[in-house]
Amino acid sequence: MNDQASQRQLSHLEMLEAEAIHIIREVAATAEHPVMLYSVGKDSGVMLHLARKAFYPSPPPFPLLHVDTTWKFQAMYEFRDWIAKDMGMELIVHINQDGVDQKVGPFSHGSKTHIDIMKTQALKQALSHYGFDAAFGGARRDEERSRAKERVFSFRDRNHGWDPKNQRPELWNLYNGRVHKGESIRVFPLSNWTELDIWQYIHAEDIPMVPLYFAAERPVIERDGILMVVDDAARLPADLDQEPVMKTVRFRTLGCWPLTGAVESTATSLLDVIEETLKVKHSERQGRSIDRDPGASMEEKKRQGYF
C-alpha cells in the first residue's frame, strides 16, 4: 500500500485499510482501557497488522488478549507467542480456571457447553477482570447472515449481552464508543472486509500466517462428518478408538482442534490457498461445528455474549 497519492481513485483495499485504521485510532483516542482480542487466525493477523500501521512509528497502545480454551492446536500457541514477541506486544492469556477445574472439554461436554464455558464465559471473565471498556475483534459481516447487521462499534451491557434492537446508529464515520462503568464496546475494524479481501491483503502485505492454513500431511479422524485433525492423541476420548489416517489437509478457519474441520487440499503456498478460496463453493464457517444448529444459532450465541 505504498502508493503515492496522485490524482487517482483509492482501490477498495486501500479504502478498507484506511477505514480500519481510522476505527482503530478512534478507539485508542476515546476508550479508557482498550484491548485487542487475538485468536491467532488470519483475521486476527490482519487486524494486528492494521493496528501496527495505525500507530506507526509507535507500537499499538493496547495489549493483545488471547482467550485460551486449552484445546487450540499446538501450532497456534507457538505462533501466538512468537508473534507477540516479534511485534513487541504485551500478550494477556486468559483461561477459565473454573472450567479447567471442572475438566470441561469438547469431548466430555460437547461443543456447545465447551464453547460456552471455555470461550464465551472466559471472555466475559477476562473483560470484567481487567476492566476493558473496548475490545477489538476480527469478525466480518460477510461471515454469517446475522452478522450483516452488526455495528462496527457493538454495544454490550453490563452482562456483556448484545441486544440487536438496542444498537447505536452509525452515521458517516462517526462512532459512538461512550459507555457507563461496566458496559463495553466490541469493535470490528474488519466489518466491511470479505474473505477474499483478507487473503488478498495478506498476500499484498506479506503478513505471517500459522502453518495450519497450508496443506500438509496430518493425522485425521472423520467424526460427525467433519475431518478432525488429531493434535493431541492423549486427549482423545477412550470410546474414539478409530486410528487416525494421514491425509493432506488444511484449515480454512481455526479454533479448538476437536471442533474445527479440516478440508482436503493440496494448497501449500499462499497463492494456492487464495486460488482455492476463489473457487470454493462452501462457505467458510461450514468447518465450524458451532453453526450447525439450524437457523439463526449464531444470533443466539451473540445475545449471550459470544464474540
Binding site: L16, I21, A29, L174
Partner: protein, 629 residues
C-alpha cells in the same frame, strides 16, 4: 486467467457503497438476492440453507426465495420484515460493492439515514403496478437530505404489467418531476424483473425496448470520490502520536482535498500556522496525501494541536462559530427538546450544545414545513444549536465529513440524532432572527436574506410569447419552495390585473410596465427574496434599466429562447393567430420587435431543453453563484 493476474484485477477494483430502499414487498430483498447470486457471492451451503428456510418462511412455494438470502435476524424473520440496516458485499470484475440494505417499513427513517450517510449512490425500488408511493417520495427525500448525488430508480415487477413501456415511461416522468423538486443530482431509471434477473445483470428480450444500461452497468459506471478529492483540504486530528521527544505526529484520515509536504496549513480553531514537514506511514513517507487516506503528519513548527482540532489550508478555511443551523434527523424515542443539553460529535471533536429553536419540522411525505415544539423519533427538522465553544465546521452540501455531526445523549450515551449543517449562526444573525429586533437599526438586506439562507436576486426571464418563460419560472419557483427558499414570482397574472391595470400595450405603456415591475422587484429583493419575473420585456434598454436598479450581481437575465416559428406553432393561448389576423396590435415578434439580450447570464434553449432540464440548469447556476446557500 492465472491466480496472480486475477489478484491483480481484484486489487485494482475500486469500491462503491450504495443504499437500497423501497416499500415493503417492492422486491428489494429479491433484487439484492439476485445481485449476490449472479455475482456468485452465494455459497452452495448458504443456498441450501435458504432452500431449507424457504419451505418454512418463503413466499415462493418450493422454490428458493431469494429474499431469504438477505433477511437476517430471527425476530425480524418472525415479523416477515427487515427492520435494520444490513450490509452486503459483492463484486464484479470492475468494482467491489457494499450494499446498505435498509427497510421499507414506515417507521425507519433513522435506519435509512444511517445507511445513506456512507453511500455514494441509492437504488430506489418501485413496484411497477403501484408506481410512485408516499414512501418512494420519502426515501427520495432522505436520499437528497443525506447528499447522495446518484439515484437509480429500478422499476420492478415489469412482468406483472406485461413489460409495458408506456407504464414505465409514465412512472419515470412522475419520478423525474418529483426528483427535480428535491434537487437530486443524477437520476437513472430502468425497468427490471428482480425475480428473473431481467436487466439486473443481463438484458432480456421481453424488455428489448429498453436500450439503456442494466443495473449492474449503471452501478459500475457511477463516478467515485471526485467530490471529496476536489474539495478544500480538511484534516481532522484524530490522535496525537508521541513516539519520542522529537516525534510528535498527528494521525487522522484526510476528510477531503489533498495536501503535500512543504505546504502551509492552519490549525482550526486556533488559527496558528505551520507547514507539513512529513507524511508518515508504516510503508514509508509519502509526498502527498489525498481524501480517504489514513496518515500521520508532522509539522515544521511546534504548535498547539490536539484531537478535535482540524488542519486546513490558510486560504480555504471552514467556518468557525458558536452556533449553527442544521437539518436534523431525530433517532430516539425521547423527543428533542429545545433547552436541553446534548453533546455534538463532529468529525473528531465533541462539543456540548443546546438546541435553541426548531425553525420547522419537514413533513417527509409532503415536504411541507410545520411549526413544532419538539422533534420525535424519525422526525426531520431545521434546528438552531448554540455551541459551548467556538467550533470549526463546513456546510454539509460542500463537505460531507466536516459538515455533519451526531447528537449524543449525555445521560444515556445513546446516539439520538444526525445533523447536516446548513450554515453557521453568527451573533448578528442570531440577534436578528431571535425575535429581538433592534428598532434603531435598519435590518440590512443581506441579513434578511441570510436568515433565509439565500442571497437576494432578481431572475429576469425574457423571451417571446410562448417561449416558455412562465412555465420555467413557475417550475423553478416550485423547486425553490420545496427546498425551503423564499421567492416570489411576478408575472402577467398578478401584475397586469392590479398594479399595472391602467397600462396598455403601446410602446410607452410597455416601458412604464417594465419600470414598475423593476421597482417592485427591487423592493422584494430588499426584503431578501429571490424574485422571479416572467414578462416578454422585449426592449434591451428597459431591461438594462432594471439591471441598474439592482446591486451588482443581483440581476440575472435569463433568455428563454425559442424561434418565432416554434413559438407560433406552440401558440398556447392562440395569441399569434389573433395577431396574424390583426385582432391584436403591437404583438412582439409580429408587428413589434423583440430585442434579444446581448449578454444574458443564462440562455435556455427550450427547443431542446425540457422544463425540468431548464430548472436543473438554473438551480445549478444559482448554487454556483451562491444565491442559494
Amino acid at each position: 486467467m492465472d491466480i496472480e493476474s486475477l489478484l491483480k484485477q481484484h486489487a485494482d477494483k475500486d469500491l462503491l457503497r450504495f443504499i437500497t430502499c423501497g416499500s415493503v414487498d417492492d422486491g428489494k430483498s429479491t433484487l439484492i438476492g439476485r445481485l449476490l447470486l449472479e455475482s456468485k457471492q452465494v455459497y452452495e451451503d448458504q443456498l441450501a440453507a435458504v432452500q431449507r428456510d424457504s419451505r418454512k418462511w418463503g413466499t415462493q412455494g418450493d422454490d428458493a426465495d431469494l429474499a431469504l438470502l438477505v433477511d437476517g435476524l430471527q425476530s425480524e424473520r418472525e415479523q416477515g420484515i427487515t427492520i435494520d440496516v444490513a450490509y452486503r458485499y459483492f463484486s464484479t470484475p470492475k468494482r467491489k460493492f457494499i450494499i446498505a440494505d435498509t427497510p421499507g417499513h414506515e417507521q425507519y427513517t433513522r435506519n435509512m439515514a444511517t445507511g445513506a450517510s456512507t453511500a455514494d449512490a441509492a437504488v430506489i425500488l418501485v413496484d411497477a403496478r403501484s408506481g410512485l408511493q408516499t414512501q418512494t417520495r420519502r426515501h427520495s427525500f432522505i436520499v437528497s437530505l443525506l447528499g447522495i448525488r446518484h439515484v437509480i430508480v429500478a422499476i420492478n415487477k415489469m412482468d406483472l404489467i406485461d413489460h409495458s413501456q408506456d407504464r414505465f415511461d409514465s412512472i419515470v416522468a412522475d419520478y423525474r418531476a418529483f426528483a427535480n423538486k428535491l434537487g437530486v443530482g443524477h437520476v437513472h431509471c430502468l425497468p427490471v424483473v428482480a425475480l428473473d434477473g431481467d436487466n439486473v445483470l443481463e438484458r432480456s428480450d421481453k424488455l428489448s425496448w429498453y436500450q439503456g444500461r442494466t443495473l449492474i452497468e449503471l452501478l459500475e459506471s457511477i463516478p467515485l470520490g471526485d467530490e471529496a478529492s476536489s474539495a478544500d483540504f480538511r484534516f481532522p486530528v484524530q490522535y496525537v502520536n508521541r513516539h519520542s521527544e522529537s516525534f510528535r505526529g498527528f494521525a487522522g484520515t484526510v476528510a477531503s482535498g489533498r495536501i503535500a509536504v512543504g505546504e502551509g496549513v492552519m490549525a482550526m480553531p486556533s488559527g496558528r500556522q505551520s507547514r507539513i514537514e512529513r507524511i508518515v506511514t508504516f510503508d514509508g513517507d509519502q509526498q502527498s496525501a489525498m481524501a480517504g487516506q489514513a496518515v500521520t503528519v508532522t509539522l515544521a513548527d511546534e504548535i498547539d494541536l490536539s484531537r478535535g482540532d482540524m488542519l486546513v489550508r490558510p486560504e480555504a478555511r471552514p467556518r468557525i462559530a458558536e452556533g449553527l443551523d442544521a437539518r436534523l434527523v431525530w433517532m430516539a424515542d425521547t423527543p428533542l427538546n429545545p433547552g436541553r443539553q446534548y453533546d455534538l460529535r463532529f468529525a473528531t471533536s465533541t462539543v456540548a450544545a443546546t438546541p435553541q429553536l426548531i425553525h420547522h419540522q419537514i413533513d417527509v411525505n409532503s415536504l411541507e414545513h410545520h411549526h413544532v415544539d419538539e422533534l420525535g423519533l424519525n422526525d426531520i427538522g431545521l434546528v438552531r444549536w448554540g455551541l459551548s465553544k467556538p467550533t470549526a465546521f463546513d456546510a454539509y452540501g460542500e463537505h460531507r465529513q466536516t459538515g455533519s455531526f451526531a447528537v449524543i445523549d449525555r445521560i444515556s450515551n445513546l446516539t439520538v440524532g444526525a445533523g447536516m449543517i446548513v450554515r453557521p449562526v453568527t451573533d448578528e444573525l442570531a440577534d436578528k432572527s431571535s425575535n429581538v429586533v433592534w428598532h434603531e437599526h435598519r435590518i440590512a438586506k443581506i441579513q434578511r436574506a441570510g436568515q433565509k439562507s439565500q442571497r437576494p436576486a432578481v431572475l429576469w426571464f425574457t423571451g417571446l410569447s410562448g417561449a416558455g418563460k412562465s412555465s420555467v419560472a413557475n417550475a423553478l419557483e416550485q423547486a425553490l419552495f420545496q427546498r425551503g427558499y423564499h421567492s416570489y414570482l411576478l408575472d402577467g397574472d398578478n401584475v397586469r390585473h392590479g398594479l399595472n391595470r391602467d397600462l396598455g400595450f403601446t410602446d410607452e405603456d410597455r416601458v412604464e410596465n417594465i419600470r414598475r415591475i423593476g421597482e417592485v422587484a427591487r423592493l422584494m429583493a430588499d426584503a431578501g427574496l429571490v424574485v422571479l419575473s416572467a414578462f416578454i420585456s422585449p426592449f434591451r434598454a428597459d431591461r438594462e434599466l432594471v439591471r441598474e436598479l439592482m446591486e451588482p450581481g443581483e440581476f440575472v437575465e435569463i433568455h428563454v429562447d425559442a424561434s418565432l416559428a416554434t413559438c407560433e406553432s406552440r401558440d398556447p393561448k392562440g395569441l399569434y393567430a389573433k395577431a396574424r389576423a390583426g385582432a391584436i396590435k403591437h404583438f412582439t415578434g409580429i408587428d413589434s420587435p423583440y430585442e434579444a439580450p446581448d449578454k444574458p447570464e443564462i440562455v435556455l434553449d427550450t427547443e431542446t431543453l425540457s422544463i425540468e432540464e431548464s430548472v436543473d440548469a438554473l438551480i445549478d447556476y444559482l448554487k454556483q453563484r451562491q444565491i442559494l446557500v
